[in-house]
């Protein structure tokens, strides 16, 4: 048996805005009717947070529940807890049509942190990132350059970004280049 590795194997940059691999992250994709009654308790049980509403990110330390689509959530948790979480989901969702899958290895998780992190992302994603519109507590599924990605903020200058594993290096290089190019000066710094 060998320990699993993340696609980026700990890559990190230095600089005013830093890009780094967040390593192995347990991720479970759950597709179901989001109004299903027992989901509230399940979300509480898995990540200690309520079911996220439209475009909401319920982040609790190293756990989170992220809204992905009208019938899909993404739960984040320590990598080692995924199997246990899957069996708890199966139990809670028994007799309820759903699809729960371990997608931890299918993705990469990166952190973008620094005073103009918001602008680093805005160079690449065609979405409104104005601080009045997007901030901690929200999640967006969009594009980063030429790939699909999702991101949320954990504080005023930190983004967490997920993308598919096969394009993790592309995402990292893209973010690194955008950070290295410096701030645009459009959004207030540190927001």
């Amino acid at each position: 048996m060998s320990e699993p590795v993340s696609a980026l194997r700990g890559r990190a940059t230095s600089g005013s805005v830093q890009v780094s691999d967040m390593g192995l992250q347990g991720m479970i994709s759950l597709r179901c009717d989001l109004s299903f009654g027992k989901l509230k308790a399940l979300s509480k049980d898995l990540v200690g947070a309520p079911v996220p509403a439209l475009r909401e990110a319920q982040v609790r330390n190293d756990r989170a529940a992220l809204w992905m689509s009208p019938d899909e959530l993404l739960f984040l948790m320590p990598h080692t807890e995924v199997d246990d979480a899957l069996s708890r989901i199966a139990k809670a969702m028994k007799d309820q049509h759903h699809l729960a899958l371990d997608v931890s290895d299918a993705r990469a998780l990166l952190r973008v942190e620094g005073p103009f992190a918001r602008e680093v992302i805005a160079k690449l994603a065609p979405v409104d990132l104005h601080p009045d519109v997007f901030g901690p507590g929200q999640v967006l599924r969009t594009r980063l350059g030429q790939i699909a990605a999702a991101f949320w903020m954990t504080d005023a200058q930190t983004f967490q970004v997920i993308c598919f594993r096969s394009v993790a290096h592309y995402a990292f290089d893209l973010l690194e280049a955008s950070a290295k190019a410096g701030p645009v000066g459009h959004f207030p710094r540190g927001t």
Partner: protein, 1001 residues
């Protein structure tokens, strides 16, 4: 020449050194390249496109048609740069273009002597016949004599970036109207982005100095900038041009960050991708030239541009300037020149009388004003030496000659309506001002049918300060409130400037000019289009302005007729005897000025040009010097050559080794889609042509997917995981597409079916262990019973192999004993290493996609993309066995029932073996007797897959042949690359192990 006075933008204590055509020159900080060239008395700056006539600077802004240079060296070399848009910097290197051998002496000027042979439409008329001459004689000569700058030869090492931003109100243009619009929108609380294409704010007002709010225009601009800077909801950018307006409020802007400061770090340019609720185009107006004979001689320029040079940069073109005009505004140039101590021998006014406040002011200074007058001709070659004067309403009889070294002309103003028009804003013809202006009732509309662009200020046809600034403020307030910000922004600023008498439209000077004069009146400087050319086009029946543009080249090339369009279509309408609005304008298309490709590409170059997808063992493939081939966005190993081995030899070795010992394939790229739910079986029965609902848990089945039209679109093995869960394998390129296809049907047609899908392709690394020793290898690793009894062919199981959690499928795409093993992607590399380590004693070799293809072709297995091309149905490939007869319906069933799909003459899959053992060319056609209606040889089939088979020692192929399976043993001829044919016998497509014994052991 540089004046002692004036020059509000230049810092005369900061000299800046640059060179033009190798000549060292000096300007000041704050100069543009244009003003610095004029300061150095460099009046001749280029040659015209067709006749190679000497040309000088005509304008001071983006409308400049002549002064295009090649800028910079090495990685900063850039052709076709307008000198008016270049901020001067230390060490700037510029070269003029389109001349040979030199700017001063150009042999291409011979074209001018031949000008009667180069009339409008000369490309179409002269050079079409004989055809061969066009290609070998005319075109090379024309290309050498006519052309703009050269493409750079070295890579551009600068960086570029994009920036996405969403705002309530985008204001394009930083003159007083734009500033007022931003002020109103900003005060109302809207998120505002204000863009100015030059390096400074204030537009014409800070040159012409009207009063605003009781203060000078410059003071008002400064106060306003202060207020805007203090608003956190307003962002302002200079050197940032609004380039294009598109549907749904999308706009592009081009910001030049370090063009003026090449030593500064950071990106050189930034492309702003803006989503705006409302757009205000305060883009100003462009002065029109007048059409008089030899109006292209260097030293003739626009009156307001000359004023810009004098006031902003303290630069003049000559000592004695004759001004020629049809309006009062040009008199401001006379005043500015006089104030700078320069001579104005006369103002030539085409109007019957000139009695407004400005002309009177000019007269009071002792300057002659000649009404009902015109320039008959400009004298001089590379520089103006004088003008001959005639009556405007006559035929050009000379009344007087005036010596001068500069001519400043004004034919009135055209609002810059480009951005208003990009997305469909309509125009009206303003008779009094002789201009097209935006029609406020017909703006570009968004998804809700409401307008999303407002033109403001001079761009909206308001040429006077009071109206322009009030219009700007009103546009800003309206845009903000439409975007939902209704806070009151206060009163509009009050503007005040001198009253002006009406202008008079003058399209030809003098009005009755004979042909030889009209043939020397340039409408389009950049493309050498003259009044006579447009008139000739009209005579020849070109009635549409769009056709005339293409025929004469009026308004083509880099400036897209910024100076020439209105003058040209006025001449055209006159020649056609129609009113100007009936003739209309050509289409305004983005971008406003050419955008560098580098800015459009942004960061997407070199390794970021496009995403390259990597499997969990990509590093291993790279470390082992695999040859790669693109498959979708993946790079899959094509083969693993060893030492000096050729790719072909490597493939041969890999095939043989897989047939005789054991091979290892990275199949991680193949698509894996989970389909789950109470209706999943029913759903898959619709998606696949064969029956998937009856597949037992633990089993695998090969399946085909068709489009609605019945054409085969993807294939792969489906495994049943549990009662309501299936795992569908797709081709490498099909994973995303097929997942989207499934979701499409689920979300739009069968939304009430209880099915969820998920694309888990990248969750797993998947490897094929293939060959007679495959089982030995896995048993050596140990942990699972993989005997034929425990895991028969077309079954799957899970377990722990060598400590790894695995899922193993007994499926084969090679005809050999084969196990496809999936592990979680994070353990893929480690598991691959384990297989390689344990495999080595058994002779394991990894194999690439080419060996995979040879192995499957030897077995007659089809490949999506080879045997299919979007026109092939499964029946063409003899796959009737995989099409369920029991099902009422599946996607493609109805399509396959159409007459043409049932035609017995369809080309069907067969094997092909050449009589001489050679390998058929890929894609070769089987020739038939006779010719088709186009005189081409008839065909009866084509090659779809062709390889050298190491197993059989000869070429093998598959192809589609008319009624192929009925013609076994027949010999037909195939075309060869480079001519001739090769004979091949139609045979069974399964060349190897027809009974399928080897895979089922």
């Amino acid at each position: 020449m540089r004046l002692r006075t004036n020059g509000r933008l230049v810092r005369k204590n900061r000299p800046v050194h640059f060179s033009f055509n190798g000549k060292a020159m000096q300007g000041y900080a704050g100069d543009t390249l244009a003003s610095a060239l004029l300061a150095n008395d460099q009046i001749l700056v280029g040659r015209s496109f067709k006749y190679h006539r000497p040309r000088g600077i005509v304008a001071a802004g983006t409308e400049e048609p002549n002064a295009l240079v090649e800028l910079g060296r090495g990685d900063r070399q850039e052709p076709n740069v307008r000198v008016t848009q270049v901020d001067l910097y230390e060490g700037l290197v510029a070269r003029s273009q389109n001349h040979w051998p030199s700017l001063e002496f150009d042999v291409g000027v011979i074209n001018a002597k031949l000008s009667r042979f180069l009339p409008a439409g000369f490309y179409y008329k002269t050079f079409i016949q004989p055809r061969a001459f066009w290609k070998h004689v005319y075109e090379p000569i024309i290309r050498r004599s006519a052309g703009l700058g050269a493409a750079p030869e070295t890579a551009d090492d600068n960086t570029y970036e994009h920036f996405n931003v969403t705002v309530d109100v985008l204001v394009i243009g930083g003159g007083i109207a734009g500033l007022a619009a931003a002020l109103a929108a900003g005060r109302a609380g809207a998120r505002v982005l204000l863009l100015e294409q030059t390096s400074g704010w204030g537009g014409r007002a800070v040159v012409d100095r009207p009063m605003i709010e009781g203060q000078s225009a410059q003071d008002w601009v400064n106060v306003t900038l202060g207020e805007l800077h203090a608003m956190p909801n307003v962002d302002m950018r200079v050197r940032c041009q609004g380039a294009g307006v598109y549907d749904h409020g999308y706009a592009l802007a081009h910001e030049r960050l370090t063009d003026h400061a090449p030593k500064q770090g950071g990106p050189r340019q930034r492309l702003w991708r803006i989503r705006a609720g409302q757009i205000v185009t305060a883009t100003g107006a462009i002065e029109r030239p007048l059409s008089f004979a030899y109006n292209d001689v260097p030293g003739v320029l626009l009156a307001a541009s000359l004023r810009d040079y004098v006031v902003n940069y303290g630069v003049a073109v000559g000592q004695r300037t004759v001004i020629v005009t049809n309006n009062d505004d040009a008199y401001r140039t006379a005043l500015a020149l006089h104030a700078a101590g320069l001579d104005v021998p006369a103002v030539i006014d085409a109007r019957p009388a000139a009695q407004g406040a400005l002309p009177e002011q000019v007269r009071a200074l002792g300057i002659r004003v000649l009404a009902n007058s015109a320039i008959g001709a400009v004298e001089g070659g590379k520089r103006v030496t004088g003008v001959s004067i005639c009556a405007q309403d006559g035929t050009g009889g000379q009344t007087e000659q005036i010596a001068c070294d500069c001519v400043a002309m004004s034919g009135g103003w055209s609002p810059v309506v480009h951005l208003w028009s990009h997305c469909g804003g309509k125009l009206v013809w303003d008779e009094a001002q002789a201009m097209f202006r935006p029609d406020a009732d017909r703006p570009p509309t968004g998804a809700d049918g409401a307008g999303f662009v407002t033109a403001a200020g001079t761009a909206n046809g308001h040429l006077f300060t009071a109206e322009a600034i009030a219009d700007g403020f009103g546009a800003g307030r309206k845009a903000a409130s439409t975007a939902g910000h209704v806070k009151k922004p206060g009163q509009a600023p009050m503007g005040d400037d001198a009253a002006e008498d009406p202008m008079a439209p003058v399209w030809i000077m003098p009005a009755q000019a004979p042909y030889d004069m009209r043939a020397k009146m340039w409408l389009d400087y950049q493309n050498d289009v003259k009044v006579s050319d447009v008139q000739l086009a009209a005579q020849e029946g070109f009635r549409s302005v769009e056709h005339t543009k293409r025929y004469t080249t009026l308004g083509m090339a880099t400036d897209q007729g910024k100076l020439s369009n209105v003058n040209g279509l006025a001449v055209l309408s006159d020649a056609l005897g129609e009113a100007i609005p009936q003739v209309g304008t050509t289409t305004f298309r983005p971008p406003y000025t050419p955008l560098p490709l580098a800015a459009i590409a942004g960061v997407a170059r070199d390794e970021l040009f496009q995403p390259v997808r990597r499997t969990p063992v990509q590093d291993w493939h790279e470390d082992h010097d695999a040859d790669f081939e693109p498959v979708g966005q993946w790079r899959r190993p094509y083969a693993y050559p060893r030492g000096d081995e050729s790719s072909h030899d490597a493939v041969t070795r890999e095939v043989k080794n897989t047939r005789e010992a054991v091979g290892l394939l990275d199949a991680s790229t193949l698509g894996k889609i989970i389909v789950k739910g109470p209706d999943a079986g029913r759903f898959l029965d619709m998606i696949y042509t064969n029956m998937m609902s009856t597949l037992p848990v633990g089993s695998c089945r090969y399946g085909l997917m068709c489009s609605e039209n019945g054409f085969l679109m993807d294939d792969g093995v489906v495994a049943r995981m549990d009662d309501d869960t299936w795992l569908c394998h797709t081709t490498t390129g099909g994973a995303d597409r097929i997942h989207a296809h499934m979701e499409d049907w689920l979300q739009t047609e069968w939304y009430d079916w209880q099915v969820y899908t998920a694309n888990v392709t990248e969750q797993y690394a998947q490897f094929a262990v293939v060959g007679p020793k495959a089982r030995d290898l896995l048993q050596d690793i140990g942990g699972m019973d993989l005997t034929q009894e425990a895991l028969p062919f077309m079954r799957w199981t899970t377990g722990t192999l060598g400590g790894f959690d695995v899922r193993i499928f007994r499926i084969s795409f090679s005809g050999e004993l084969s196990f496809e093993i999936a592990v979680r992607a994070g353990q893929g590399a480690a598991f691959w290493d384990l297989l390689v380590k344990h495999g080595e004693p058994l002779g394991l070799m990894p194999y690439g996609t080419e060996a995979l293809h040879v192995l499957r072709a030897e077995k007659g297995f089809i490949m999506i993309g080879d045997e299919t091309d979007g026109t092939v149905i499964p029946q063409d490939l003899n796959l009737d066995w995989a099409i369920s007869k029991k099902k009422d319906d599946f996607l493609g069933k109805r399509g396959q029932m159409r007459t043409h799909m049932q035609d017995p003459d369809r080309w069907k899959l067969v094997g092909l073996e050449t009589l001489d053992g050679s390998v058929l060319p890929d894609g070769a056609y089987a020739v038939d007797t006779g010719e088709n209606v186009n005189g081409q040889r008839n065909t009866q089939g084509r090659v779809t897959s062709t390889y050298y088979s190491p197993t059989l020692g000869k070429g093998i192929a598959m192809g589609l042949v008319r009624r192929g399976p009925e013609r076994m043993g027949e010999v037909i001829a195939f075309t060869k690359t480079g001519g001739g044919t090769v004979d091949a016998r139609i045979c069974d497509p399964v060349f190897y192990d027809k009974e399928g014994k080897k895979q089922n052991v």
